[in-house]
Amino acid sequence: MRYAETGYNLEIDLSRGNIEKVATDPKETELYLGGLGTNAKLIWDRVPPEVEPFSPDNLLIFGAGLLCGTPATGCNRTIVSTISPQTRLLAFSMMGGFWAPELKYAGYDKVVLRGKSPDLVYIWIHDDKVEIRDASHLRGKGAIETAELIKQELNQPKAQVAAIGMAGENRVYYASIEQGRSSASRGGIGAVMGDKGVKAIVVRGTRDLNIARPEEFLGLCNEVLDYIKYREEHPIPGVMPILAGLGSPQEMKVHDEKWHTENFMWGNSRERRKGFWTDEIAKEWTETMEKARTRLISCFNCPMKCGATISMPGLPTYMMKCFTKLTYTMGAFSDLDFGLRIAQKATEYGVDGFSAPQVMAFAIELLENGILSKDDFPGMPEDNEGRFFYLLDMIVRREGIGDLLANGTYWAAKEIGNGAEEFAHNNIKKTEQLPLKLSMLNPIYFLMYSTGEKINITQIEGQFPQAPFPTREAREEFVKDWIQVPDDRFKQYFVDWELRGENSMPFYPTVEMCCDIVDWQERMHYIDDALGQCAGLSSFPLKPPYHIHNYPKFISAGAGIEMDEEKLTAAAKRYRTLVRAINIRRGMRRKDEKPPANHWKKRFPELEEQLLDAYYKLKGWNRDGIPTAESLRELGLDYVSEDFIQRGILGDDEAADPTANQQAATAQ
């Protein structure tokens, strides 16, 4: 019997309308865990680098994390993987909510889509019954609207629906997949879903999900719940409120937005507005939020309430999570009322809440700077808010200039030319980033921005405090109950870290320490992404309930795979390297690994090179960021090095390295 996972994937060929239930190999789970790990393995095996994002041969995989659907609190992520139209690299966006557990209860770990349906369809999975159904009547409908219509049509109020809106149908490069209170937004996976002709995947499951060692597993779950309760009562002192507790940043609960509105850039990452947060604005925004917000809501099996139901007068209700609360507001230099109204439309259209407002602000800036002209925006209203609503419509319909803007700032700027590229200044690997511009280089963040395969900074950071605490006493206090560290040396790194002087940024933490810290933070995120655990209870906040010491026990007791810290670390490194290998095979190299040029005012080019060199080395990559044959062999990824050698990505001699062979021999 398989535990925690079902042992079956659904393979759907949309071109032929063929549906297959395929048993998976438990050995793969042991090596790659599940979720992102096994998604990446499928993409490596079946999507060669010649395959374009909008090719029928591109796969779109909805993977439930290994522990999704078990009683493990907060374990509910669907990891959607495909080749991104925007970056042309692997995209692996995640959504919380209820979809992944429902898929498990229906009896599947993944839904793997290939081919392209000639007509718009939706997929209905009800335990063993799986159908491809006509969705032509849903064309152009909003994502939330679609979910409601399908549930009615099937008379299945409990079904979970992941759907795209018009943006996905029209292959907007930053189209999202929406699922009630959650969405998988980054990397344009909604565009690939639209390209495949799939409007929605609907799932309802009533099967059992088994646990290998039940009592032990429940004991672990109860410990996590107790710890969550403890942390609710004991927030971390000395850090800003959003870092003091657990869960995703509690944007729906928090009214005080001084920090975000004064520290993040407005417009397309243009301008900081110090002194913006006045008493008047505080009052106005609080009123707006309280009127709009009906209820704080959670994802499956989690008490943290990171989302909210939002009803703006005169608009349909929708659900919001996290930072979308501010992105449109700040992109348009407007207010919260506007932000919540346009987000309603944007959610129905299904666009990424980070990219969409940045692209719209970019268009306005091009207009204001004479790179685009009024003629490019026929019929655009005069008022600021009206212009953003107009742009959103043009983009999701790919009409006029919206057709270019729908490809994101990088591709649009290239096409527009005439100096537009200067305005697309906040990208990493062709994707819009958080609008931050800071003073002094932060070496830890430099590494995370540059080398993160997720290409989204907010989903890499977490375990290590963002800045030193002002006094040594406070730092010593902090490390006292820091049980989450994989090794005590991290405590020392932190205790010695000063705001000013010798032990301060950018030369402290030292290059080696920075690499160590980033490697730990990244490892935790990759583990979450394979298990389906929400980062909000694990890799994202300080001192979370899940960590490297209890995760192996969860996997052993839950999935019945014998696990310890070392084995888990190796597994995470294995599929992390595989994710990189997919991107390397698609052409990504060191030259692509850099933060936006003007991200930090004060830069240290030499130090930055050292950081990259040292980090690559730690990861087992060569100077160009390519995993070496030796490190691939150590991870059991020989098939990757063979492929690299065949393609000339690695030289022949690298396989014939005698020391490497020797090591392989002793390992056997």
């Binding site: 059992d208 646990i211 039940p214 309760k229 994802c299 099996n301 008490p303 349909p316």
Partner: protein
């Protein structure tokens, strides 16, 4: 008829606090698995959350007594402009609806207040306090007649579903197979 003291166990439900996470469903089904916690399936849960987020409806309902027959009247409720069948909020398993029945056997489920535990587990797992456990002593008039036990309820459901003859045939067949 006699009168005696009885402990009334009760779960107070505060729908204003519910966030729709369904942790209560998860732990209930897990607790009632055989062996305990060995599997999990919210469809077998004895509590379920009626969940209609766009209309802000969040109503945890736990399973009450089995109703042998369909009820006569079924009122409609309009909440925030949407119509709900009274059935949706009913605590009984009955012949006409799927709720509170084992998904494969169709046998009715009933909340047993997590017999053997100090506190009902759904209450324990609901960290936002939407569920509160209450116990009170009450003088009750006890009918001499016993309440039917689980096997009886189960059999009755099967009779309702398949008819007495079919059930007897099956039992006979099984008895033959076993001997």
């Amino acid at each position: 008829m006699t009168s005696k003291k009885k402990t009334i166990k009760n779960i107070k439900i505060d729908v204003d606090k519910c966030n729709g996470c369904r942790a209560c469903e998860v732990i209930c089904s897990s607790f009632h698995a055989m062996p305990k916690y060995s599997s999990n399936n919210p469809a077998r849960s004895r509590i379920r959350v009626i969940h209609d987020p766009l209309r802000d409806i969040y109503v945890p309902v736990y399973a009450g007594e089995y109703a042998v027959a369909e009820c006569a009247g079924r009122d409609k409720y309009v909440i925030d402009g949407k119509e709900y069948d009274e059935c949706a909020f009913c605590r009984a398993a009955c012949p006409s609806r799927e709720e509170f029945k084992e998904p494969d056997s169709g046998l009715p489920l009933k909340c047993d207040m997590c017999e053997g535990e100090d506190e009902p587990l759904c209450v324990k797992w609901c960290l936002v306090d939407a569920l509160t456990y209450e116990e009170r002593e009450e003088e009750v008039v006890v009918e001499e007649e016993d309440t039917p036990d689980e096997i009886e309820i189960g059999l009755e459901t099967l009779i309702n579903k398949h008819g007495l003859d079919k059930l007897l045939d099956t039992v006979e067949q099984l008895a033959k197979d076993k001997s």
